[in-house]
């Protein structure tokens, strides 16, 4: 009996020792040297391996971040459960700018709803903006307008966009947008822009990208910018945030103070904002009818 126990212990012990040595040598010889940054970044990620980022697990995401940092940009890389806080921490570690210091948000710059820019043709093909853009100007006929097929919605990894069927345009949910920039890259017409969130969430932008002459643009869309220049004139002297280029007005977000004066003067209502401008107080007039007429004209 003893002999058997002794024999078993020795033989199994020898097997264990030999296996341990073999494993040790193999681990040393075939050791894969990895960039130590990958480990650091992987630590900062949630570690849930959910795959929501589109990469194989958090390790894959960490590698993509490091690769992106070496290539010069980590735009488009985001961790849905981690959110913008995680992206910022990772950005610091890799020495990359994540959000330029100021909180940004994606802004859609097209007002071509079904009502304002009715469809002139029907696109029969795969629902990809990149394909429709390459074929022709799109169902609405505007060569710079939103195609409404949702490449941006599909690529958003944070669920911050959805397609509004009533208007035919994508909607960006501010609260969820982490300004990763994926939708900006996905749009073939560069309609979406990352703009600063603005103080107290106030921001103003020109809701159009049309580079056509006013009359031509109006034929296609009633909410187009016709480059009349009224907004440029209305913008206060000290601010001068609006420029007119190629038949299109553009509000520089760095200069704009979100006073909202330009919104009212735009004849096609092409300037949008996140706040409402209070209606101007009517001046007291003796004749009641003249006052009403004035209001109508101002609308």
């Amino acid at each position: 009996m003893d002999g058997i126990i002794l024999y078993s212990v020795i033989s199994l012990g020898a097997v264990a020792a030999i296996s341990a040595m073999v494993l040790f040598f193999i681990a040393k010889k075939f050791n894969v040297v990895e960039d130590p940054r990958i480990d650091v970044v992987a630590e900062l990620l949630p570690g849930a391996n959910c795959g929501g980022c589109g990469y194989p697990g958090c390790r894959g995401m960490a590698e993509a971040f490091v690769k992106g940092a070496d290539a010069g940009s980590i735009a488009g890389l985001g961790c849905p459960p981690g959110g913008s806080a995680t992206s910022e921490k990772i950005g610091k570690v890799l020495g990359m700018e994540v959000a330029a210091g100021e909180p940004m948000v994606a802004v859609l710059r097209c007002g071509g709803t079904h009502e304002k820019a009715p469809k002139k043709t029907e696109f029969d093909g795969p629902s990809k903006c990149s394909i429709s853009h390459a074929v022709y100007t799109g169902e609405k006929g505007c060569p710079n307008g939103c195609l409404g097929l949702g490449d941006c919605v599909k690529i958003c990894a944070f669920g911050a966009m959805y397609m509004d069927d009533k208007t035919g345009l994508p909607v960006i949910i501010e609260a969820k947008c982490v300004s990763c920039g994926a939708c900006v890259k996905a749009c073939p017409r560069k309609i979406i822009e990352l703009r600063p969130l603005g103080r107290k969430n106030r921001r103003v932008w020109v809701n159009c990208r049309s580079l056509e002459k006013g009359a031509v643009a109006m034929k296609v869309c009633k909410a187009a910018c016709i480059a009349c220049g009224k907004c440029v004139k209305e913008c206060p002297e000290k601010v001068q945030a609006i420029t007119l280029d190629n038949f299109l007005a553009y509000i520089d977000p760095k200069k704009c103070i979100a006073c909202g004066k330009c919104i009212a003067v735009c004849p096609t209502k092409a300037i949008s904002a996140t706040f409402e401008m209070p209606a101007p107080k009517p001046k007291p007039v003796e004749d009641g009818t003249a006052e009403v007429k004035k209001e109508e004209v101002k609308q």
């Binding site: 002139k120 043709t121 029969d124 093909g125 795969p126 990809k128 990149s130 394909i131 390459a134 074929v135 022709y136 100007t137 799109g138 006929g141 060569p143």
Partner: protein
């Protein structure tokens, strides 16, 4: 003669050549033409006229300045109304010269008579120069500037001129009619082309569904030694350059290379006619035959149309847009472009206008890929459309490059056959565009 064909792939869509028996009619002159400057592959031409200038038929209005570009000439006489951007078939803007038509005065240098001139007085280099100055481009649909094809680089061996008279696209009959009606001029044109290339052999490939054209061409070719007529099996895409070369001389153009690398130059038969007119009559490319057809049209026809004529005029000539038309295609049904509006003009590449009604215009419902392998078996280039489509959806561009996506000739056989009606060619095109972009970015580094 025995029918030849290419080995891999191909489909046989119904031919629908309703306009085959309609002789070519010259369309009446429009009131205003709009001639775009980008009617060819390569850099657009630069306008050399301005508002208010008087022009005659054949006056140079656009000069092709870079290596791959072509001249553009006025197709009417009158006064230039404007030089501005107009909408082309896609709706995107392009620069064009708009001319108000007054009379039909031709430039003095053009021989306006229809008599056949057989004697070729110009030398080879002069012929190529004349082709260039007359703005001749390939009339098969791609519009590649012809003089560039004729500038054979040093060291390339060339022995055969292949004339593409196949017209494999359903519905189109323009080439068929010019073979029947202008046979001798085409033959002289082929002689001119052989002289320009300094070779002795030309083969004209014609699909077997045009027996009258084959018979007429064979009869006339008897008087032109060195030019053979080769009937070909009716199979799409018989008229594709690489497939045509394989069928007539049994040589395969290697991936990424040109027909010149197997000793051939390929030109459309309409281009041969245009070259004849350019060299013998000094007439630039200002008009072409356009087939206007469709199942619901009462009289499908072939019109000789001046470049720049609004498509609305063609529509009027056949009696208006047929009831229930839902799609209008510029070109053939397999490779043509659907137009968003008829307010566009005929260009050098407009081979046909086809009206499709409700039953034919819409695509069918997309189903899952059933891995039947039909797309692989019909691909004339031996590629794997199902795999390329899947990879494009996942944006895996490097893997698609390895599958040789840039070899795709965009013939459309795969989308045509797919039982699940999947948009194979649409996504393959997207793949090609992205692979070309990646290659360009790579070459810049």
């Amino acid at each position: 003669m025995k029918l030849k064909t290419f080995k891999i792939g191909g489909v046989h869509p119904p031919e629908n050549k309703m306009a085959a028996n309609s002789p070519i009619e010259a369309l009446s002159l429009p009131k205003r033409v709009s001639i775009p400057m980008n009617q060819h592959i390569g850099a657009p031409a630069n306008p050399v006229v301005k508002k208010g200038d008087d022009v005659k038929v054949g006056t140079l209005i656009g000069k092709g300045e870079s290596f791959i570009s072509a001249n553009i000439h006025s197709s009417v006489s009158g006064k230039v109304f404007a030089v501005e951007t107009v909408m082309d078939t896609t709706g995107y803007k392009v620069k064009a010269v708009i001319i108000d038509v007054e009379g039909d005065v031709w430039e003095d240098s053009i021989i306006h008579s229809g008599a056949l001139i057989k004697d070729i007085k110009l030398e080879s280099a002069e012929i190529v120069e004349r082709i260039k100055s007359c703005g001749i481009v390939g009339l098969g649909g791609a519009c590649f500037p012809t003089h560039v094809k004729y500038m054979v680089p040093e060291g390339k061996k060339l022995d055969t001129l292949v004339i593409n008279a196949v017209e494999c696209e359903p519905y189109l009959t323009a080439d068929h009619r010019i073979m029947l009606e202008r046979t001798e001029e085409i033959m002289v044109g082929i002689e001119i082309m052989k002289k320009a290339l300094k070779i002795n052999r030309a083969i004209v490939g014609i699909e077997a569904n045009k027996p009258d054209a084959i018979a007429k061409m064979e009869k006339v070719a008897a008087n032109f030694p060195g030019t053979e007529i080769q009937p070909l099996k009716v199979q799409y895409p018989q008229g594709a350059e690489k497939q045509l070369i394989k069928s007539v001389v049994n040589r395969e153009v290697p991936s990424g290379k040109l027909p010149l690398d197997v000793g051939c130059v390929v030109n459309n038969v309409g281009t041969a006619l245009a070259i004849y007119e350019a060299v013998q009559k000094n007439k630039p490319l200002i008009e072409r035959v356009v087939t206007v057809t469709g199942k619901k049209l009462s009289k499908p026809a072939n019109y000789l149309v001046r470049i720049g004529t609004p498509v609305d005029m063609l529509v009027e000539a056949v009696g208006g847009i047929p009831e229930g038309t839902e799609k209008i295609v510029n070109g053939g049904p397999m490779m043509g472009k659907a137009v968003s509006t008829t307010e566009v003009s005929v260009t050098k590449g407009t081979s046909g206008i086809i009206f499709f009604d409700k039953s034919e215009a819409r695509r069918k419902r997309i189903a899952n890929c059933i891995r039947c392998g039909k797309c692989v078996s019909v691909c004339a280039m031996g590629l794997e459309p199902y795999l390329m489509e899947k990879l494009v959806e996942k944006s895996r561009w490097e893997e698609i490059e390895k599958l040789a996506v840039t070899d795709c000739i965009e013939c459309g056989s795969c989308s045509y056959t797919c039982p699940s009606s999947r948009p194979l060619l649409d996504l393959i095109r997207l793949g090609k565009a992205n692979v070309n972009r990646i290659r360009w970015e790579r070459s810049k580094k």
